[in-house]
């Protein structure tokens, strides 16, 4: 007999909806089970469709999925659901970040916009180690209105080395203004050889951030990125997310930079 039907969506109650920015909200889905930062779930709305969303937070009986209102499924989700409602998810899928590896020494994380979601769990983990000050996070957003995860930044700012920056801001804005890349040269690192990095965000941001890291003498083998593509199944069957010999859904979405740069769409 055929085994489990992995396509069957699981009912999940929405515990809370946290508005991060106008079109970026965190949906807290009831979920109990194994899950890692960097993995993703398929949010499944019967009669509408499914959308792969990365995990932005992990709790005892929930996962947070921070979602941008940008398409058919996410539009429907934003317009039709409130806290307390029940809908469907399936997952988690993908490899996720190996947080224990990052906790061994100094760590740089560069994240742009919504891409703070997949690394939020990594930072939360690193905050709980006995050397959180070795974590250097640069989080970039387009403008002050789009800054997400503000309560997290408040919590992290005294624990880790945190830089929140915006690409542009109206006059009188008191925070950092400038691209994430301009902060990379000044991150205080004791041992650049053993330091590790995660770079997540729009492709140009990833490209230029890595250039800056390498300029500092970073070992390319110590850089990880997270990628995304169109997906239907999430389990290595439908083919949409394949790039060369890698399936983003099962071989990723987290890749070593040296492995990922050999992929051509």
């Amino acid at each position: 007999m055929a085994g489990k039907n992995e396509y069957t969506p699981m009912p999940s109650r929405l515990q809370d909806i946290i508005k991060q920015a106008e079109n970026e909200w965190t949906f807290r889905f009831t979920y109990v089970g194994p899950v890692k930062p960097g993995q993703f779930f398929q949010v499944s709305i019967p009669k509408v469709g499914e959308a792969p969303i990365s995990v932005s937070g992990i709790g005892e009986d929930f996962v947070d999925l921070t979602i941008r209102k940008v398409g058919k499924v996410t539009d429907y989700l934003f317009e039709n659901f409130q806290a307390g409602d029940s809908l469907f998810i399936r997952g988690p899928y993908g490899n996720g970040f190996d947080v224990e590896e990052y906790a061994k020494g100094e760590m740089i994380i560069v994240a742009g916009g919504t891409a703070v979601s997949p690394i939020r769990g990594v930072v939360q983990y690193l905050c709980k180690t006995d050397h959180p000050q070795d974590t250097h996070l640069i989080a970039g957003f387009k403008n002050p209105d789009e800054i997400m995860f503000k309560p997290d930044f408040e919590e992290w700012k005294d624990l880790i080395d945190l830089t929140v920056t915006v690409d542009g801001a109206p006059e009188g804005y008191e925070g950092n203004v400038g691209l994430v890349t301009q902060y990379i040269p000044d991150i205080p690192i004791r041992d650049i050889e053993s330091c590790k990095a995660i770079v997540v965000g729009p492709p140009p941001m990833i490209k230029f951030s890595i250039i800056e890291l390498v300029k500092r003498g970073f070992n390319e083998e110590h850089i990880w990125i997270s990628d995304s593509r169109k997906m239907s199944c999430g389990i290595g069957k439908c083919g949409h997310c394949r790039v060369n010999s890698k399936y983003i859904c099962i071989d990723g979405p987290v890749f070593k930079y040296t492995e990922h740069r050999a992929l051509v769409d």
Binding site: M1, P46, G71, R229, K237, C238, H240, N244, V264, D265
Partner: protein, 337 residues
């Protein structure tokens, strides 16, 4: 066991098999071809041996029986989700060696890529048995010999028509009686396999990254019209898209289905927000060709393409897949200097 059956005998054997099995086989559909007054060979359910097209390769593959063009996954009613049923009665599929080898490729994707099995494929696969149609001669455009998929051993029985008789080699004991009871005589039967094609291909061992963006693909941007026929006739193409819909009467009832997808057709990579990969048809051709003769091998150790040649035959722009493999090989050699 091997048997020799008359035409009457083989039809009786089919009658006996039909008591337990549905038989899915290539059938000549007169007048149903792409152009006026042309025929097409497609798979369909048959009751007798006489209905089966034994001479020529089918234009479309057996694939519909394992990955239907459109398949319901779930039905939704108000707050209920019900898994879609399927016809679980056993099937025997008559196919040539190339296609039996193609099933191995589909199994690889659906049952051995990643930790989860594909439930919908698996439940269909479990009720299917494969029978071999021997190939006495090469088909048009086929290059199975060079792809190493001209032979197959994984079948329940084989059928080889010759001089008005049908030679059968039965491998599965449960099916033996159907043939033994209707045979003229026993014999040592070895199914025929093609040993020489007119078309030959040479594949590169390694493909350098520079070739992914090489100008050799520009030709296909000019010629290909991204109709996707090559994907839909391919016995190894396995991509699908999941689609939801609701029935418009009241919007409360709907279904989730999966439909065959084509990496040549617009929309294959489109994500919410507008990002698209591979806009040109040349890039799509490169994506497809390298998957069939390189990328799949990098993961699983053998090539995906079985050399059936159907994509060459079906292409409305006369693009030859085998020719493209040879061009790829020549270009790789050129780049290696």
């Amino acid at each position: 066991m091997g048997y020799v059956l008359s035409n009457e005998g083989i039809n009786k054997a089919f009658e006996a098999l039909r008591k337990e099995y549905r038989i899915f086989a290539p059938v000549l559909k007169v007048g149903e071809g792409r152009f006026k007054d042309t025929d097409v060979i497609r798979y369909d359910f048959v009751d007798s041996y006489d209905e089966v097209e034994m001479d020529k390769r089918s234009d479309f593959s057996y694939k519909d029986i394992v990955t239907p063009l459109s398949e319901s996954m779930f039905f939704f009613t108000e707050d209920q989700i019900r898994e879609a049923n399927f016809d679980a009665s056993p099937v025997i599929v008559l196919m040539r060696a190339c296609d039996i080898n193609a099933v191995e490729r589909l199994d690889q994707i659906f049952l051995a890529n990643g930790e989860h099995n594909d439930y919908y494929y698996e439940r269909r696969r479990e009720v299917i048995k494969f029978a071999l149609i021997g190939c006495g001669k090469t088909c048009e455009d086929g290059f199975c010999v060079d792809m190493g998929s001209n032979k197959a051993e994984d079948y329940v029985f084989s059928l080889d028509p010759k001089d008005g008789k049908v030679y059968v080699n039965v491998k599965e004991d449960d099916l033996d009686a159907a043939f033994a009871d209707n045979s003229e005589s026993s014999a040592d039967v070895v199914p025929q396999f093609v040993t020489e094609n007119e078309v030959h291909v040479e594949r590169p061992e390694e493909v350098p990254l520079t070739l992914f963006k090489d100008e050799m693909w520009d030709e296909y941007s000019k010629r290909c019209i991204n109709c996707g026929r090559c994907n839909f006739v391919c016995p190894t193409c396995s991509c699908f898209t999941i689609q939801d819909l609701f029935f418009t009467d009241n919007g409360k009832v709907g279904e989730r289905r999966r439909v065959n997808a084509s990496c040549m057709v617009d929309g294959y990579t489109d994500v919410a927000g507008g990002l698209v990969q591979r806009r040109s048809n040349g890039e799509r051709m490169r994506f497809k060709v390298l998957h069939k003769v390189y990328d799949f091998r990098k993961i699983f150790g053998y090539d995906m393409c079985v050399g059936c040649g159907r994509c060459d035959t079906v292409c409305p722009e006369y693009i030859s897949f085998s020719n493209c493999i040879n061009k790829l090989n020549a270009r790789v050699k050129e780049l290696e200097g």
